[in-house]
């Protein structure tokens, strides 16, 4: 028997065996996922995997051009090679064209793997080391072995080239290669991301994400025996699957404001800890950046062991501002924020351990419908001089049941800083002759804060109360200056039967400006930058309207390096100012440093939370102004001529 005959026989056995082993691993992995709670299985999503991979996933990967090209070559080469290897060596099709194709695909993969190797010579801190440092070598060995193996078959080299020595080398290389690339996929190697990732793309819990948007938190049944997630098995099975998809690229870590501030959160480590929890073990082998201030190797977990304070410290969960930067940056479409809120729900609703001022704030929300415990009857005090139309009864005992616009005031009503924004909004609405009314004292907090602090019960009560109030009246649009209320009403009230046309004030004013109903002076020259609120930008994809308004005022925005979808959070979301987990620096200080870098004198904001956080940065610093305030400064009011016309 010649060495080439031996090889082809041996490879049949070896590859078949490896595939069988991979299959066994796959079943074992699936059993791990099936420990989770039931959730809708979107079978049809499986058909969408190629499209979601090529469009949605690649769109995120392509933010780093080097890596996207590398991945196209490596992954494309690998998928193609695998198919060809199976056809050639398992089904033993001896078509010359397949041989040539394998030669090409393995070469492509080899080229890709060189770039992977280069990236990992001086890896940036967000990349995990350990087994991930082995991957480029495995990729090279795999691709090179099959490339050399295929050369004689194409006739470029005579068969039996290299004799037994090369044959043995090839056998060794192929065992390593397919061990890592096939078996490793389902037995927990770095290639696990390909197997779990593909399934996760297909069976994703938020199918609407692909080609659309799905950012609202999901409601839970408040009568269930356990509220929230205590142990890994309390996650939905498709959440467990999603954790396995993590490729440890650390883009989440690069974008996480809490991580940058030195608070004990690293989204990548959190997801890896969830994997440890699901499969059992400790975190000693984790080879990426730790949670700031917490040593790696000190925590362990298991599928039926409580997570908090065993596997993950509670401070880690409460450091998150729910800014969604990690979710947005994740090429594997993992939903970190969902997982964090799920665990917070257990902490708050079962253990009663919301840290910091959480307990007080939640008690206030249930007793007074606002987080700071002000009397509900004083909600309209700020507008004593505004002569607003209030839905329901008014002072003249008239019933107001309809208006074109419902102006959602929000908790800015109790905050003197943000009352300025509200006043500016009212002047603008009046200048544009918009027919609007407010809910007055009947309005409650939107529930955003309660929900993100894990108190789903209070959220649902507030949401239901607001919905039943609003359903009494007829209006076309809800307009609000608060992106958190905007997001809640738009994306989270639907599950409770509240479906409304909601607009953020920037979107609404942008329409009025483009319809010439509001005229803005564009002669002022302002050195200005714009800070994207997370709940307007990443949560609702609104990046253009605020910029359109600023440009209508003649402003050339000095964009920050991190703007639009990569904008850094102000630190005010997700109840982070309430839980107040200590770090090395404050998130708003870092954001203000971003502002100062642009040499802007004014930072335009579009959220009461952002204005509070950024104004909390010590002076001297650029001025913080809401877009509504800037618009009021630039408003060209109707001159007397129109007034005369109106009087005649």
């Amino acid at each position: 028997m010649s060495s080439s005959e031996f090889l082809s026989h041996f490879l049949f056995t070896l590859i078949s065996f490896a595939l069988l082993l991979t299959l066994v691993g796959a079943v074992k992995r699936m059993l791990l996922w099936s420990q989770g709670q039931s959730s809708t299985i979107h079978w049809l999503g499986l058909l969408q995997i190629p499209r979601r991979y090529l469009v949605d996933l690649h769109h995120v990967v392509a933010r780093d051009k080097y890596m996207s090209n590398t991945h196209v070559a490596t992954a494309g080469g690998f998928v193609l090679s695998s198919i060809l290897i199976i056809l050639l060596y398992v089904f033993q099709l001896t078509l010359q064209i397949l041989t040539w194709a394998l030669l090409g695909s393995s070469l492509l993969m080899f080229i890709g793997s060189i770039f992977v190797m280069l990236r990992r010579r001086n890896p940036p801190p967000n990349l995990s080391l350990g087994k991930w440092q082995r991957l480029p070598k495995s990729l090279m060995v795999f691709s090179l072995s099959f490339f050399i193996l295929t050369l004689p078959a194409t006739g470029i080299l005579p068969s039996d080239t290299g004799g037994w020595l090369l044959a043995l080398l090839l056998v060794a290389g192929i065992i390593w290669g397919i061990g890592e690339m096939f078996c490793g996929m389902t037995w927990g190697g770095p290639m696990k991301h390909a197997f779990a990732g593909a399934l996760h793309l297909g069976l994703h819990r938020r199918q609407e994400r692909f080609g659309g948007q799905s950012t609202g938190l999901k409601a839970i049944d408040l009568s269930s025996k356990k509220l929230g997630v205590e142990k890994p098995i309390d996650f939905k099975w498709n959440q467990l699957l999603s954790f396995d998809a993590c490729v440890e690229c650390g883009r989440c870590e690069n974008n996480c404001p809490a991580f940058a501030a030195g608070q004990p959160l690293n989204p990548k480590k959190l997801i890896q800890d969830m994997v440890i929890g699901m499969a059992g073990g400790d975190d000693a082998k984790f080879a990426g950046s730790p949670y700031p201030g917490i040593k790696v190797g000190t925590h362990k977990g298991g599928a039926i062991i409580p997570i908090v304070n065993v596997l993950v410290e509670s401070e880690t969960l409460w450091s998150c501002t729910t800014c969604r930067a990690c979710v947005d940056a994740c090429p594997m479409m993992i939903e970190h924020v969902d997982a964090i809120v799920d665990m917070r729900r257990f902490e708050t609703m079962e253990k009663g351990q919301t840290p910091g001022k959480g307990s007080e704030i939640l008690e206030n929300l249930s007793a007074t419908d606002n987080p700071n415990g002000f009397a509900p009857s004083t909600r309209m005090n700020w507008a004593a001089d505004q002569n607003l139309t209030v839905f329901g009864h008014n002072e003249k005992k008239q019933q107001v049941t309809q208006a074109d616009v419902l102006l959602w005031v929000g908790d800015a009503a109790f905050d003197m800083r943000n009352q300025r924004t509200l006043r500016a909004m009212i002047k603008l609405l009046r200048a544009a002759k918009v027919d609007f009314a407010v809910l007055g004292d009947a309005e409650c907090d939107s529930g955003d804060l309660a929900r993100r602090l894990g108190d789903e019960a209070t959220f649902q009560r507030l949401a239901n109360s607001n919905i039943s109030t609003m359903n009494k009246y007829s209006f076309n649009t809800i307009v609000t200056a608060d992106p958190h209320a905007f997001h809640c009403i738009k994306n989270e009230y639907g599950e409770f039967g509240g479906n409304y046309n909601v607009m953020h004030h920037t979107g609404f004013f942008a329409e009025l400006v483009s319809q010439q109903k509001i005229k803005l002076d564009n002669s002022k020259e302002l050195a200005l930058t714009y800070h994207d609120p997370c709940y307007l930008g990443r949560y609702n994809g609104e990046y253009d309207a605020p910029r359109f308004l600023l440009e209508s005022m003649g402003v050339k925005i000095k964009e920050m390096e991190r703007s639009k979808s990569t904008a850094r959070c102000c630190g005010g979301g997700g109840g982070a100012p309430v839980t107040d987990i200590p770090g090395k620096q404050r998130i708003p200080d870092m954001r203000m440093a971003d502002v100062i870098e642009t040499k802007a004198e004014i930072v335009a904001v579009a959220c009461p939370g952002c204005s509070a956080m950024l104004e909390g940065v010590v002076e001297p610093r650029p001025e913080v102004k809401d877009i509504a305030e800037l618009m009021l400064d630039a408003l060209i009011e109707d001159t007397g001529e129109d007034m005369v016309g109106a009087q005649v």
């Binding site: 408040l222 009663g352 249930s366 007793a367 009857s377 004083t378 789903e456 209070t458």
Partner: protein
């Protein structure tokens, strides 16, 4: 502290939020539960006299005590016009209790703060007002060391014989957060309380309390340090003296009125 043989009962009422006037867990009663849990853990018994209302917000308020981790609240059912003191005393007489904890005064209703005193009278127990903590319990000598809260952050350590009633002050440790899950799953063990109609209060007229007029305080302080002193310093009792005799008392009052420029 492990006081396994100790029997501690905390009495809870429906509270009322000062600004929204909505029912809630009463702040002092919640502190009493916190103290009770510290003393005996799961063995703490909790008692409420009243009706289990159909009103969701009232139920939620009562349930928020359960949310502190209690398995159940004993509910002595009584009609709204019954005298809670008698109903509770009737029940407690049949129990062997070492410590009864209450708030200093209810957040609504009569809010007289008399309940612990009247209960102590009925049960023949000692009564300690406004405690901040129970430091230790000597079960052999049947004695407890109690920390009483006095104005301006002062504390007084007292030794009290068991059994006793204590009203818990706002200075006691903050109550733990009430969690929704346990609050919903906790049980009310309902028993019919004795029937004691409150005859006296039936012909009372109830009007909203008015704030007492406050004497204008003219602060002459010029510096921040002086203002701080004025705000925090203990009122010096230099001018006060105990006056006996009708003549002297009348003279003292007249002098004060003249001094204040009212006559």
């Amino acid at each position: 502290m492990s006081n396994n043989n100790l029997s501690v009962i905390s009495l809870v009422s429906l509270g009322e939020h000062p600004t929204s006037r909505r029912p809630r867990r009463a702040e002092q009663d919640a502190r009493a539960i916190e103290l009770g849990i510290k003393l005996v853990g799961d063995n703490l018994q909790t008692l409420h006299a009243g009706e289990l209302s159909d009103d969701a917000s009232q139920q939620t308020a009562l349930r928020s005590y359960l949310g502190m981790g209690l398995a159940e609240i004993k509910l002595l059912e009584m009609p709204a016009d019954a005298d809670a003191v008698l109903v509770i005393a009737d029940y407690l007489k049949q129990q062997k209790t070492d410590i009864i904890l209450t708030g200093v005064r209810a957040e609504n209703g009569e809010s007289s703060g008399m309940l612990p005193y009247l209960l102590a009278e009925q049960l023949g127990m000692a009564m300690v007002t406004s405690i901040a903590d129970i430091l230790s319990i000597d079960e052999v000598n049947k004695q407890a060391e109690v920390l009483q809260a006095l104005p301006r952050g002062q504390r007084r350590k007292l030794k009290v014989d068991l059994p006793f009633i204590a009203s818990v002050d706002m200075a006691a440790a903050l109550p733990r957060q009430s969690a929704f899950g346990p609050a919903m799953r906790g049980q009310f063990e309902t028993t019919l309380g004795g029937t004691f109609t409150d005859e006296e209060s039936s012909d009372w007229q109830i009007v909203d309390a008015k704030k007492r007029p406050k004497r204008l305080k003219i602060i002459k302080a010029k510096t921040a340090a002086d203002r701080f002193k004025a705000a925090t310093a203990k009122a010096s009792g230099g001018g006060g003296k105990v006056v006996y005799g009708v003549e002297e008392s009348a003279q003292a009052i007249l002098d004060l009125l003249i001094e204040e420029g009212l006559i």
